[in-house]
Every structure is written in C-alpha cells, then in structure tokens.
C-alpha cells in the first residue's frame, strides 16, 4: 500500500509541482490550499506524512497551528515544514512544535523526496527489530542509521532529520574535522554557515539536556567540527 502524503500549500504552482513529483514516485498525494480544508480532510483520515507551509493564504501562522493540531491527534505522524521563511525563530519554533524537519523552499525536489523517504524509513524502522549492522556505537553514543535514532548514555535524543544527518556525519568518523560545507552535503541541506553553527549548537543543547558534561562535539575554529570521544573520557576520568 502506497503512502499517503498531504501537502498543505497555498501556492498552486508549487503545490502541484510537488504533488506531481511525489505522485511520480508512487505516493498518494492530497493537496490542500488552506488550513480549514486540510483540517476537514485530516479529521476524516490522517495522512502518513504531512508537508506544511507556514503561511497559508491570510493566516500567517496557520502551518504552526496545523502542526500543533496534528501533533495532538498523533504523536508519531511525520510532519515536515516546507516554507519560504528561514529565520532562526521560525525554524526553532517549527521544530519545537513537533515537526520532524524544517526545510526551506529552495530545496531541490530530489532532496525533498529523499527527506520524505528518510522519514518513512525511520518510521518503518521504528517498528522493526533492531539490526546490529545499522548500529554505530562510540562510547556512550549509539546511532541507529536505519531508524535514524540517537541514544546517549542509553537515553533517546530527539533529533530532527537534519540534525541526525549532521551528527551522523560527525560520529561516523570520530576525530575527523568536518567543515561546514561537508556537513551541509552530508545533511543534504544547503544553508549558510551560520545555520550550520546554530544547528550544531542545538544538537549540543539536546545532548547537554541529558548529560550536562557533554562536550564531544568540538569546534575546530576556522575549519569545522569534529566528534571528539577522547575529550569526554579525559574529562570524565
């Protein structure tokens, strides 16, 4: 059974473009132009994945409201924000509300479909038993590339897809410095340098929320970041 994707987007051209591409890839796509029509439809039946624009027609924050409403109906439904708004505030609030990813509209279609695929994969993988070959364990960090989940000291760290890819890129080669463009490539987004910085900061914050001594992500000034396992050990010992 093919997955059902709902696109809530007020710009008809983009909406149809996305819908066409996704349909081509075998998804069932429903499109909605505003919050109310989307809500009506979602009341009847929830989609498998929702792609939301934030500003819908006259409502400036309709996407956020819709996301919150969806989250109240289902905690597991993958939600992606796809919007032209790229300010830090919007990104943070979008992710806080419960979106699984926050993408800006300059993302390319293959990239978007990859993200969608990744989200579905994570959802599917969560239901399946864990397989060891997808597991990457570095000290207290455990990365499940299949399910796209991260555990730190056996505690689950809630990361978005973008953040997951970044951390995965760092942790896959501990001690190697990844510069920003590499991180961008690995996490399959194209943003400016400061966005990378803020993503890294957010990841750090999520870890320090669990472990206040966390300092494995090291900044190598002028070059990038690296996963530094030794430092935490020396600090811990």
């Amino acid at each position: 059974m093919s997955k059902r994707i709902a696109i809530v987007e007020d710009d008809a051209a983009i909406r149809e473009n996305y819908a066409d591409v996704l349909r081509l890839q075998g998804y069932q796509v429903q499109t909605y132009a505003n919050k109310n029509s989307a809500m009506e439809a979602f009341n009847l039946r929830l989609p498998n994945l929702a792609i939301l624009d934030i500003g819908l027609e006259h409502e400036y924050d309709a996407g956020f409201e819709l996301c919150q409403w969806l989250r109240s109906k289902s905690t597991t439904l993958p939600v992606i924000f796809l919007t032209a708004r790229d300010s830090d505030v919007d990104t943070v609030s979008g992710l806080r509300i419960g979106a699984d990813d926050y993408l800006t509209k300059d993302i390319s279609l293959p990239h978007l479909s990859a993200r969608i695929a990744a989200l579905f994969r994570r959802q599917d993988a969560l239901g399946k038993p864990q397989q060891a070959d997808h597991m990457l364990t570095i000290g207290p960090l455990t990365v499940d590339s299949q399910r796209m989940t991260i555990q730190w000291q056996s505690q689950h760290v809630e990361l978005t897809i973008t953040e997951f890819w970044m951390l995965y890129a760092l942790a896959k080669h501990p001690g190697h410095v990844k510069n920003r463009s590499q991180l961008m490539q690995d996490s399959k987004i194209y943003v400016d340098d400061s966005t990378i910085t803020s993503h890294i900061k957010r990841i750090r914050k999520k870890f320090t929320y669990i472990d206040s001594d966390f300092n494995c992500i090291e900044t190598v000034y002028g070059m990038g970041y690296r996963w530094n396992q030794n430092q935490v050990e020396t600090a811990g010992s």
Binding site: D11, Y18, V21, A84, R85, D86, T104, L109, T219
Partner: protein
C-alpha cells in the same frame, strides 16, 4: 571654545532692557522733584505773601524805621546790626562779629563844617554800629597823628580830641553829647544841650571806653535805645595842639542841629515780633525796607530745609519691627552696609553745613528783591555762595498806601526735597536692584534651562544618528508641554520613523529574499519536474530503443540545464542576502562566553593555510590564554573568514599578514595585504550593507557586499571596531579589528 551669540547671551541682552527701568524711575523721581520744587516755590511764596499781608497798611511799623526817606546815604544813614553776643566795652573790636564788613570808613569826604585838603587832614576813622539788647553800640577806631587829651585842669571839653553824638529821642527832644577824655580809660560823656549856664552835664547813660592805640585811639560806646528814635549823628573832632582849637571834624552827619542828623535803622522789634510768628515755618525770613535794609530777620537758612523736611523725617524713622523675618533682616543689613554708603557716594546729599553769604545783613540784593520792591512778587533759585546748596528765595512786596514800603523775603533750601528725592531714589534703586537681580537670575536660569534642554535635544539628535546615517538610539520623549517639548517629541517621532524606515531598508534583503523564494521555488520545482519527466521519457525511450542504440547516452536539454543553473545562482544570492539578517538575529540570541582568542586565531589561520594552499600567511602562532575575549568564538571565526577571504581575494602577491598587538584593554588584529588601495573616503562605507568595490575580481560567485557588513556586525557584537585603511606606505590595505579584552 569659540564664543558664540547663544540663546543665553541673547536673553541676557534682552533682559538688559530691564536696566532702562531704573532710568525711567530716575526720570520719574526727577519729575517728582520738579513738582516738589514747584510746590515748595508756591509754599514759600505763600509764606512770603502771608507775612506781607500781615504787614500791609501798617504804616507805623515803617514810619520810625527811616524807611520814609526817599534815599539813604551810606555812612550817614546808619544801619544797626543786630549783634549776636554782648559787647565788652574795652575799646577793642575783637568781640564785634565780622567787624571789617560792618564798619564804615570815614575820611575826607565825610568832613563837616570846613573842607580841608587831604594833606591838611590828619584824621580818619572807622565806625561800626550794632544793637544788642537794649543798647546801641558804637565803635570808633580813630587814626590821628596827634592824640590830644583834655587837660587835667581844663574846663573846656572841646579844646582836645573829642567825639560828638547827637540824637533825637522818641519825644522829639534833640540832645547832643560830647565824649571828651582826660586819659585813656572809661569815657567821660557830657550832654551839651538843654543845660543851664552852658555847663555840660555828665551823661551817665552813655557809657564806654576810650583806648589809646599806636595810630590814635579807639572808643567803644553804648547808648540805651530809649535815648533816640531813628535820628543820629556822630562826629570826631580833631585838635592837634594842647588846648588848641578844632582843626577838623569828620562825622556821619552834622550833629549840631536836629535837622541835619542822619538816620539809623534799628531792627524793628514790632516787625521782628510779627516775623517771629512765622519762624516755625522752617524758613529763613527777612523783612527789608525799600532801601534793601533789613528790618527784621528770623530763622537760619541752614536749618530752613522747607516744609518737606518734616515729612521726610517722619518717613526716615524706620519702624523697628523686632520680629521681622530673616529675609527682610538680611535685606536691611545689606541695605545698610552696602547700599547706603554706595548711595551716599552716588547721590548728592543735602549739605548740612554750607556757607551762604550772599546777603550782608545790612543790605539785601537780588533780582527778586528788586522785583518785589518794584511791586512784583518773585521767586528765584540760586546756589549758596559755596555752591553747595540750592536756595529758594521768594520776595513779596509790602504795600502801604499803594506804595511799596518793603518786602518780605522767605528763603528755604531744597534740602528737604533733596532728602526726599534721595530717599525715593534709594528706595527705587534698592527695589529695582532687587527686582533686577531676581529678574536677571530668573532670566538666566530660564535661559540656561532652555538652552540646556535644547542642547540636550541637539546632542540626543546628534547621537541618535551616527556618521554613517545609522540610527543608534532614541531621542527621549519629553513630557514638557511647551515648544521644546513638542520639538523633542517631533524629533523622537522623526527618529523613530527614520529608524523604522532604516530597519525596513536593512531588512529589505531578507524580505526580498523571502518574497522571491516562493517564485523561485515555483521555477525550480517546475524545472526539476520537467527534467525528471524528460529523464523518465528518455529512460522509456532508452528502454524501447535498447536494442537499437544500446550505448547512446541520454542527451540532456542544455536549456533546461542553463535555466537550472540560473535558478541555482538566484537561490544563492537569496541565501547571501539572508545571511546578514540571520547573523543579526543570531547575534541577538547568542550568549556571550569567555573564550581564548589566541586559540581561535591559531586554529583559524591553520585552517586558512589548508583552504588557501597557494597563499602565504605571515602569522606566528600567538600564545594562548593571553587574550581572553567575551563573546562568541564561532562568530569571531566567521568574522576572520570574511576578512581573510577578502584579503586573499584582493592580494596581489599571494601574501597576507596577520598582526596581533595588545594595548591596554584592547587587542588589535591587523590583517594586511598589498592589494589595490581603497578609494578615498570609502574606508567607512566599506562595511555598510550592499557596498562592494570589486571591479576586476568579477567571477561566478555573486557579490552583494555583505561580507564586511557581517564582519562589522560581529565586531559590534563584541563591542569592538573594525576599519579598513590604506597602509602607511600606500602599498596595500590594512583591516584593523579592535576587540576589548577581559582581564
């Protein structure tokens, strides 16, 4: 500071018009004085008229005062001065006040009976007449070459130097007396009229002293006033040999008969009595006869300060209020210690001791008297003879039978008015001084406040916008409900609006990128869809044509690729445009941490050596843990990225040097290259948004001139500064970053 004609000075200048108030006050007081003088003039004329009225048609007052004479002859018609002190009969004139002026000199002209030539005449004398009490005093100073006394045994009293006096007493009886001494000493006086057997009778009523002098002899005589009425004559007879005959006679008039006697004017007690009644008017009063001779006088001009004096004195007494408050007490102390002495210097004080000798007491002269004696009352102002006091005189004629028989002269000084005027001026000056001081102070404070407020406002307005036209702060809105408050509010509004507009402009790029993003997304997705569809078709084609042309690669549509590249570039531009806004936002949310600048710098330069392998970085690793900076290391690294990238790009010799200098609490990074010099006056603008001076370095990457703008934002976030200057040798550009250190 250059002096300028500011608001305060202007207001002070304007307030200097206040100084015209005392001038007006002064004028007013002068006017007042004029009126007071006029009033005094009227009063004094009134006094004179009242006195004259009391004497009109009272002929008997004047009949016995020899005033009936058509003319008076000096030396013959005598005037008896009222003497102020009793005279000692000693033949000396020291006790005669002002003898020299009051005496008359008798000489050749005054010869009686025979007229000798000056050569023959061996005698002359000086005589003075005065009254004191009930006596008439006569003083003779005779100069005689040979003084012949009466022989001890001589019966004759005329064969020696002798004096003759003749009177007509009030009963009309004519009497002659001869003073004929045997020696110096008490006089021997004899009556020679109405005698039996021609034997002179000693006249006890005439007393006196005969004193021998080196020049001749002095005789001082007193006669009771009852002895004569107003006719008198005296003569000095000169005998030059013992028991000789009279050789010359000098005298005031011929004493031999009643008809030939001269007159004497003795101040009239009746008139004096009338006048005395007026002596309480604070005036000096004279009554003269038609010959200008003083009949009566009362009052002293020095004390005659006019009617105003009483009022003045009343006002002068300060009500000594014991419980007057502190301010008043202070003011009074100030007034007494500083102002009063000052006023006394400025204002002419009425002289308390002046000399007025215009009138000799025998004859009064002056236009006003002449006018009065001609029948026309007149008043006049004159200065006292020492020019110290102003004297007001009024003369009023006394009529008897429609003939002017005399005049009343009333004199007063203007001292009263002057005192009054001075007091008025003092009060005026004091109060005006107080008003002006308070006023000027108030003006000054007011002006200061206004100018301060305006200056504050101007400073605020200046501070609100920096040299690059950026809005730095706000103008505080004033709550004052006046024009300056309005101005402040207008400024505030203007700056706010300008700030909003600036903000709008600064956000323009992000707004624009945001707005452009959707259409670009449309284009992009459409292109991608198109590309995908084409790919699919080609795949089908390839699949169907697999047998025919198994090796043929898929031919991509070049137009599609170019369109995609264009969109890609547009998208990059949008991302760049957004970057600055994003940085601002992020800096806003970034917490400042203490970090080691050395570590960041060393790391960064290492990175740059990797990134730009062709470039030579002239930099020695600096010691760590020396430069502690409060801020965000990631952003400092970003700042360095931007600046180094710039330097690398502009460098001509593939060499960039980085210098670190610490001075005081600042660390200064200098990043130099030898690239093209900056255009004049561009060094500041370079760091503004959307400013780029790239010309020959055009390449594929779009440049929006945001790099250095971001660099400046980061510097500002760290409370530092960044500037670009052409280096001293003019062989390149130095970018100087100054960051504050934490000790």
């Amino acid at each position: 500071m250059k002096w300028r004609f500011g608001l305060r000075s202007k207001l002070l200048l304007l307030s200097s018009f206040l100084f015209t108030i005392p001038w007006f006050g002064y004028q007013y007081v002068w006017e007042m004085e004029k009126y007071l003088r006029y009033g005094q003039e009227q009063t004094i004329i009134g006094t004179a008229r009242a006195l004259a009225t009391a004497m009109h048609e009272r002929a008997n007052l004047f009949n016995n005062q020899a005033s009936f004479l058509p003319s008076v002859e000096k030396g013959k018609d005598l005037y008896s001065y009222g003497l102020s002190a009793p005279i000692q009969l000693d033949g000396l004139n020291q006790d005669w006040p002002d003898f020299a002026n009051k005496a008359h000199f008798y000489q050749q002209k005054n010869q009686l009976y025979s007229q000798l030539t000056p050569e023959q005449l061996s005698i002359n004398f000086t005589a003075a007449v005065g009254t004191y009490g009930k006596y008439l005093y006569l003083y003779f100073a005779v100069i005689d070459d040979k003084v012949i006394y009466r022989d001890v045994n001589a019966r004759s009293i005329t064969n020696n130097d002798h004096l003759e006096l003749a009177f007509i007493n009030p009963k009309g009886v004519f009497s002659r007396f001869i003073i004929s001494n045997k020696t110096t000493g008490w006089i021997d006086a004899y009556r020679i009229t109405d005698i039996k057997d021609d034997i002179p009778v000693p006249a006890r009523q005439i007393q006196g002293h005969w004193r021998h002098t080196p020049q001749g002899y002095n005789v001082e005589v007193r006669v009771p006033l009852t002895e004569f009425n107003d006719n008198i004559a005296f003569a000095v007879h000169d005998v030059d040999s013992p028991l000789g005959v009279i050789e010359a006679s000098l005298g005031s008039a011929d004493p031999s008969s009643a008809e030939t006697l001269g007159t004497i004017l003795v101040p009239s007690p009746e008139i004096e009595r009338i006048v005395k009644g007026m002596s309480y008017t604070n005036s000096s009063i004279w009554v003269v006869d038609q010959h200008h001779r003083v009949l009566a006088t009362t009052g002293n001009i020095k004390k005659a300060s006019g009617v105003w004096n009483k009022r003045v004195n009343l006002n002068n007494e300060r009500i000594d209020n014991a419980n007057e408050n502190f301010i008043l007490a202070t003011w009074h102390t100030l007034e007494n210690t500083i102002l009063k002495p000052l006023y006394e210097k400025i204002l002419t004080q009425p002289p308390s001791n002046f000399i007025d000798q215009l009138y000799d007491s025998e004859n009064l002269t002056g236009k006003h008297i002449e006018s009065a004696l001609a029948g026309e009352p007149m008043s006049q102002w004159r200065l006292s003879t020492d020019q110290q006091a102003v004297v007001l005189s009024a003369a009023y004629p006394i009529f008897i039978d429609e003939h002017v028989k005399g005049a009343v002269i009333v004199e007063e000084t203007t001292n009263g008015i002057r005192t009054l005027r001075n007091q008025a001026l003092e009060k005026l000056f004091s109060s005006i001084l107080a008003i002006m001081l308070i006023g000027a102070l108030a003006f000054f404070l007011f002006a200061s406040r206004i100018s301060n407020r305006i200056r504050t406002l101007s400073n605020q307005a200046e501070m609100a916008i920096d040299e690059h036209g950026r809005i730095n702060g706000n103008v505080d809105t004033s709550n004052t409900n006046d024009e300056i408050g309005d101005l402040s509010r207008s400024f505030s509004t203007a700056v706010n609006r300008l700030g909003q507009y600036n903000h709008y402009l600064e956000n323009m790029s992000s707004r624009l990128s945001h707005e452009l993003r959707t259409p670009i997304a449309v284009v992009r997705t459409s292109l991608e869809t198109l590309a995908m569809q084409q790919q699919l078709k080609e795949q089908e084609n390839t699949a169907s044509n697999l047998q025919k042309q198994p090796q043929k690669p898929a031919i991509e549509n070049p137009y599609l690729i170019r369109a995609q590249q264009g969109v890609e570039r547009l998208s990059l531009i949008l991302t760049n445009m957004n970057e600055s806004t994003r940085i601002e936002e992020m800096l806003h949310n970034t917490e400042k941490n203490l970090f080691d600048l050395g570590q960041v710098l060393n790391g960064c330069i290492q990175g740059y050596r990797l990134i730009y392998p062709k470039m030579y970085f002239d930099f020695n690793d600096i010691s760590t843990e020396q430069y502690q900076v409060m801020g965000s290391p990631e952003h400092i690294a970003q700042l360095l990225d931007k600046v180094i990238a710039n330097a690398v790009e502009f460098s001509n010799d593939e060499k960039v040097s980085v210098n670190v200098v610490q001075n005081h609490n600042f660390v200064t990074l200098t990043i130099s290259n030898n690239g093209d010099l900056l255009p004049e006056q561009m060094s500041e603008q370079l760091f503004d948004s959307m400013v780029s001076i790239r010309q020959k370095h055009n390449n594929e990457q779009p440049h929006l001139g945001l790099g250095l703008y971001i660099a400046r934002l980061i510097c500002q976030f760290h409370s530092g500064t960044i500037k670009a200057i052409n280096n001293k040798a003019l062989q390149g550009v130095d970018v100087i970053i100054k960051l504050p250190l934490v000790k």
